[in-house]
Every structure is written in C-alpha cells, then in structure tokens.
C-alpha cells in the first residue's frame, strides 16, 4: 500500500494515520443541501418515506443552533465537509470481493484476522458505505440478522420501520438531525428470542478521504431473553483539515435480554466525533455500554440507557484519554422511567499535555420510578500541570424513593508511586504507564482480551515520554 504523500502527520505517534489514494464510485459535492440529501436517497434506491424522513430531518438540522454547552465546535466547518462518498465495491460477503486497496486497509487494521479468530460476524465501513458484512453461518441458522443498515431496510422493512428513529428522533439534537438527513452505512442487527450470541459481532469504521463526513446509522434489536455483544472500532488518516463523524446508534433491549455495546474510538486527531447512542431497555433487560474514547480532536458522546420497564438495568463504563489538542467530552445518561430500575456509570479519564477531559452525565429519575437507584463514579487522572479535567454531573430526581450516589475524584500520578515502581526496575515511562493501566483496569477487564491488550497498547503509546 502506498502512503498518500498529502497526508500530513499531525500526531506523530498515531499509527493509523496513513491513507489510500482516493478512488470512488461517487462523491457528492462539499456541503449540505437538499440536493445532496436527495442524491443519497436516490443512490440507495430508498422508499419514499425515508426520503421524506431525511428531508424533514434536514429542516430540523437547519432550525437548531450549534450546541454551545459542551466542547468548542467553532472549528468545525460544516460547509467544507463531503457528506457522501461512495467507495468502489459494496457490501461484499467475502473479502475476495472487496476492492484491493480497501481490503488491504482492513487487513492492515487486522480485521479479517480477528474475524477468523474470535468474532461471530464482521462489518467494515469505508467512507459512507459498508464494503463488507458477513455473519458466520452458525448464527445465521439461528435466525440472527447482521446486515448493513441499507440491507436491513430492504430485507426487513417492517421491523426496521417499527424501531428506526424511535429511540433517537431527529429532533433530539442537531447532530442526530444531520445524521438523520444524510445517514449512510452502519449495521442492522436482530437477535431472535432466547438466542445467545456468545462471541462478539464487530463493525469497523474507516474514514479515508480528506474533509469527509461519516454518518453511520446503527439499529440493533435484541429480542426477549436474547444476548449479544457488539464492538465498534474506528480510525482515520491524519489530515490537516478536519473530518466529521456523527453516528446515531439505536438499541432496543427487550424483556430479559442482555446486550453490550463496546467502542474503541481511535480516530485521528483531526476528527470531530459527535455521536448519539441510546438504548431503550425493557423489563429486566440489561444494557451495557463500554465506551473508550482515545482518538479524535473533539468528542461529544454520552451513551444513554432509557430504563422503560420494571427491573431494567443500565451500565455505562466510559474511558477517555485526552492528549495535546484533544477534548474528550464524554460520560453517560441513565434515565429511569419505571420502578425497580437500576443503573451505574463509571467514568475514568486521563488527561495529558494540554488535553482536556470532561465528564458530563445525566441521571434522571421520573416520578413513579419507585426504588430506582443509580450510582455514578467518575475518576480523573491528570498527568501534568497543563492537563485539564472538569465534571458536569446533572442529577434530576422527581421520586422520593430514589437512591442516587455520586462520587468524583481527581488525582495526579504521584511521585511516590513512580519511585516505588522505578525502585523495582521499571523505567519512569513504564511506571507511569503501569499506573495508568491500573487506573483503567476496572474498564479494561470488561473488554474481550484482545481489545484490552489493544487499549493498553494504545495508552502506552500515548504515554511515551510523559515522565521525565
């Protein structure tokens, strides 16, 4: 694979910063317009209702101001973005049918290898479209559906329409609106009643072109008593101009079902990552978000659990690492609508150089959600004097029987810990890395082994030279 000479290495230790020459079947003009939206819908040969939905969402997008309550988005120029880039080759079921340079990209990212070793199904998105999607036969036989979102709409129109945009409607926020208008790619997953998919499904998102936007839309339905684990990973080349990623993830966890959604987000440091992910959880269902934010320039992402029926449970594990020039504004939301619902948010952030991590979280307990309880724990680790961390906990309680705990700590790597580890032979960098790994261990241990290893490796890369 040749490395595009135009790629400027912004972050020297970002190892996924290479890119392919741009070869596309179709690329919409820069900027957002009614024409672009119509173009996308036409390219996908969609039913009329979807085009109507997109156009309505576009109006909502125009009507909403840019949010100013969170990270600084003033550098994001929405008129410069390419909203739709269709790669050559589409949605193959075999890697042999994926165009060569795209296939090599994913090989270089280790995706086909991981698929063979440890995954039930794999999806791969390149720019705006899924270029590969495959589910192992044993799961297909049990009725598990794992498709690109477009195929989901074509092959399961009723199930799709029943849930699509019901959990994250376009009115939710400006970025949910832009996604609703121009969405493309993402996964459609259905796990039938009682089926337990015990190895993960994974989708990998890759942006390649400069100034491009990726707006994947994922809809996952876990039927009664079923179980599954879905993992998403993301990287992009390191360009000097900014890219924009704004996904919408909607999840339905039905009665007694259990679902985990894990993200290891490692976008290059020129990506604005503004994502809305939300799960509706029904009676005694369990939803777990494991959210790792390592890359991107700015991330705003607050995975949410709406606990809709008795006994539903939501858990959010959030980890953020902010280095020079990065702002990770992450956290989670637990909203209790029903009695005996429970939740937990554990957030760990690490900030170094001029990096900034913010925990932003909402716990809301509606009246009538008797005996609801949620515990929030957020710990921030600062590696130097320049780094910054903030906590924005929003707690709204309308119910007298509610129990909500909130604990927050801010710590620095302490010199005594470094000395102790150094006195055993570890270098200063190794010592600091080990302390950081220990700090995130409660979250790393929840990941499948190879992801925990990858997370630790990425953090070690980020840590190099951080202790003098």
């Amino acid at each position: 694979m040749t490395i595009n000479p135009e790629v400027k290495d912004i972050s020297t230790d970002y190892e996924y910063g290479w890119s392919n020459p741009e070869k596309y079947a179709f690329k919409a003009p820069r900027g957002l317009s009614r024409e672009v939206v119509e173009m996308i819908s036409k390219a996908k040969d969609e039913p009329q209702w979807m085009l109507d939905f997109r156009l309505k969402a576009l109006d909502i997008f125009y009507s909403k101001p840019m949010p100013t309550w969170g990270a600084d988005l003033s550098g994001l120029n929405l008129d410069e973005i390419y909203y739709y880039i269709k790669p050559e080759g589409m949605n193959a079921r075999s890697w042999d049918d994926v165009p060569d340079d795209v296939k090599k990209t994913f090989e270089r990212l280790g995706i086909p290898e991981a698929e063979r070793a440890a995954l039930a199904g794999v999806g791969a998105q390149y720019e705006s479209e899924m270029v590969y999607h495959n589910l192992k036969e044993e799961w297909e036989k049990l009725g598990v559906v794992f498709l690109s979102i477009e195929d989901g709409l074509r092959q399961y129109p009723d199930l799709f329409r029943e849930h699509f945009a019901t959990i994250v409607p376009p009115e939710d926020n400006k970025f949910a609106a832009v996604n609703s208008a121009v969405w493309s790619g993402g996964s459609f997953v259905y796990v039938p009643k009682g089926v337990k998919v015990d190895i993960p499904l994974q989708t990998y998102f890759r942006i390649n072109a400069e100034s491009s936007g990726q707006f994947e839309r994922t809809l996952i339905i876990i039927d009664e008593g079923a179980q599954a684990h879905y993992i998403e990973g993301c990287t992009a080349p390191a360009y000097n101009s900014d890219s924009f990623h704004s996904g919408v993830i909607e999840i339905v966890v039905k009665e007694g079902a259990r679902f985990r959604y894990s993200t290891i987000q490692n976008w290059s440091h020129n990506v604005y990552n503004l994502v809305t992910q939300r799960a509706a959880v029904y009676g005694n269902g369990v939803m777990e978000w494991v959210d790792g934010n390592l890359g991107s320039k700015v991330t705003m992402k607050y995975p949410a659990c709406y606990l809709l029926e008795d006994g539903a449970r939501g858990e959010i594990l959030s980890i953020a690492m902010a280095g020079r020039g990065q702002h990770q504004d992450a956290g989670g939301k637990i909203v209790h609508f029903a009695p005996n619902t429970s939740g937990s948010i554990v957030s760990k952030s690490i900030s170094k150089d001029s990096g900034r991590s913010s925990y932003r979280g909402l716990v809301k307990i509606y009246e009538g959600a008797r005996n609801a309880k949620t515990n929030v724990e957020c710990d921030a680790l600062l590696l130097d004097e320049e780094a910054r961390t903030d906590t924005y906990p929003y707690i709204e309680i309308e119910e007298k029987t509610a129990r909500v705990g909130h604990e927050a700590t801010v710590s620095k790597i302490n010199d005594e810990q470094i000395l102790y580890l150094q006195s055993r032979g570890l270098t200063g960098d190794q010592a600091a890395g080990l302390i950081v790994r220990g700090f995130i261990e409660p979250i790393a241990k929840e990941l499948p082994l190879e992801y925990a290893v990858e997370l630790n490796r990425l953090i070690e890369l980020e840590m190099e030279g951080s202790v003098g």
Partner: protein, 264 residues
C-alpha cells in the same frame, strides 16, 4: 617485564560491596546526612540503628534515588560504580532493592502482573521471563512467606494491612533476587508472628551473594535476623560501629549514651 604493576588497584576487579563515602544529603535546605561512611561487603547484613529523626531512613531513600532528597556531597559505590547520578530504575537493575517503610498502593495492578514486569525489566533485550521460571519462583516465595497463591491476584498493596504490605516487600525481594537489600524499618507495625515470617524470608536469601542494610530502631527484628555488624547513626553520622552486641546494649541502655557520642 618483572617489576610489579605500580598501580595494582586499577586492575583489580571491583570489590563486591556497597561503599558509602562521606555522604551528605538534605531535604530542601535542611541537611540530614552529614558525612556517612560505611562499607557493606556482599555476604554481610549490617544493622543501622539510631534514634528517630537522625537520618536512617534518609540514607535508605538516598541510596534508592528518591528525588525528594538532594545529595550535597559524597558517593555511593555499588560494586565500585557510583550510583548517585543514576535513575532509581538503573540502580534497581544493578541489584539494589529497598524494602520501603511505607509501601505505596497501586490500584488496578495485580501483584502477579507487577512481579512479572519487574522481573522482565532485569532481562536483556529479547530475553523473556519464562512461565516456569516465574511460577516456580513464585510458589517457593509464597511458601516461605506462608501466603496463599490467591494473594498475587490482588492489586499491589491496595487495601493491604501494614503487615501485608511488609510481607509483600519481602515477596518482591525474593522474586527479584537483589544483590543488596536495604530494609527500612520493616519491623515497624509488625506483630511477632509477622516479624518471624519476614525474618524467615530474609534469612532464606542470606549467603555470599547478598549484602545489605537493615534499618531499625529496635533490637527486636535483630533477634531473628542476626546482623554481621551494627552501626549507629546519630545526627547524620555513623557514631559507633560494632558487632551484634552493640544492638543488645542499645536495647538495655537506650540511646542516651550514643547521643552523647555525637556531641562529644
């Protein structure tokens, strides 16, 4: 050539010993060590005693390389090499080990993982700590310390009692095979059973390959780890050296008479 080498010292192999030469150190502007001189050959354990606040622990911290302390003069030679300009980890890899008076807690890092990394740090590039080497050594060490294997899955010192922390220092010592140990008041806060276990761990390592300093305020530990020599530090200097009987004398007569030595 028949005449003897005029400078035999330079061609002799470095002596296997820690030699502390006229060591001065301070915390901030406050001088603590005011000219320590000591030689501890490999194969010997020396007790360092003295009243509190006179520089015993400072000596330990300076040898290990704690940046809180500023060395204002002198040398510490380990097998002939001055270590005072080295990073703490380089000193460790030379074989110096400090059993801390107050071991710190490192949450999220299991003892097993940490021990493996620390052993790995002593290996040459490309050499791996084998599972059999690690596990064999670990089982032996745990047996000596009467510790269940499950302890190594706990996070390093996190939530440990004082006694467990001290025992964990000895576990690390057994695993890392140092050439020189410095035990900084390891006996403080230990009951007699824990003291015996710690002593058993140290005694199991004694031999021609191990030298070190046992810093303590009390005779008690020295009943179980009998030192080859005893040095008394008062006001940042060694004021008296002798055999184990010196520790006995301190135990019966207290420290008043040595304080007079310092002012004499």
């Amino acid at each position: 050539m028949t005449s003897p080498d005029p400078q035999p010292k330079t061609t002799q192999p470095s002596p296997h010993q820690i030699e502390i030469r006229d060591l001065h150190a301070s915390v901030g502007d406050l001088p603590i060590l005011k000219g320590i001189n000591l030689i501890v050959p490999r194969g010997e354990l020396h007790a360092v005693m003295g009243p509190n606040g006179n520089g015993k622990s400072t000596l330990a911290k300076v040898i290990v390389g704690d940046p809180e302390y500023t060395v204002t003069g002198g040398e510490v030679l380990v097998d002939g090499v001055n270590i005072l300009e080295m990073e703490p980890d380089e000193r460790a890899r030379l074989g110096v080990f400090l059993a801390f008076q107050y071991p710190v807690e490192i949450p999220g890092v299991t003892i097993a993982n940490f021990l493996r990394l620390a052993m790995q740090a002593r290996k040459a590039e490309g050499e791996e700590v084998s599972f059999t080497e690690f596990y064999g050594k670990l089982l032996a060490a745990l047996k000596t310390l009467e510790w269940d294997e499950s302890i190594v899955e706990r996070y390093l010192n996190a939530g440990f009692s004082g006694g467990e922390k001290k025992r964990n220092e000895i576990l690390q010592m057994l695993m890392l095979d140092p050439s020189y140990i410095i035990m900084d008041e390891t006996d403080s806060g230990l009951d007699v059973d824990a003291l015996k276990i710690v002593a058993r761990g140290v005694n199991s390592m004694r031999g021609p390959g191990l030298g070190g300093l046992i810093i303590t305020h009390y005779q008690r530990l020295l009943d179980y780890i009998v030192p080859d020599k005893v040095h008394i530090i008062v006001d940042g200097k060694v004021v008296q050296s002798g055999g184990p009987e010196l520790a006995q004398k301190l135990d019966t007569e207290g420290y008043d008479w040595v304080k007079e030595l310092a002012t004499a």
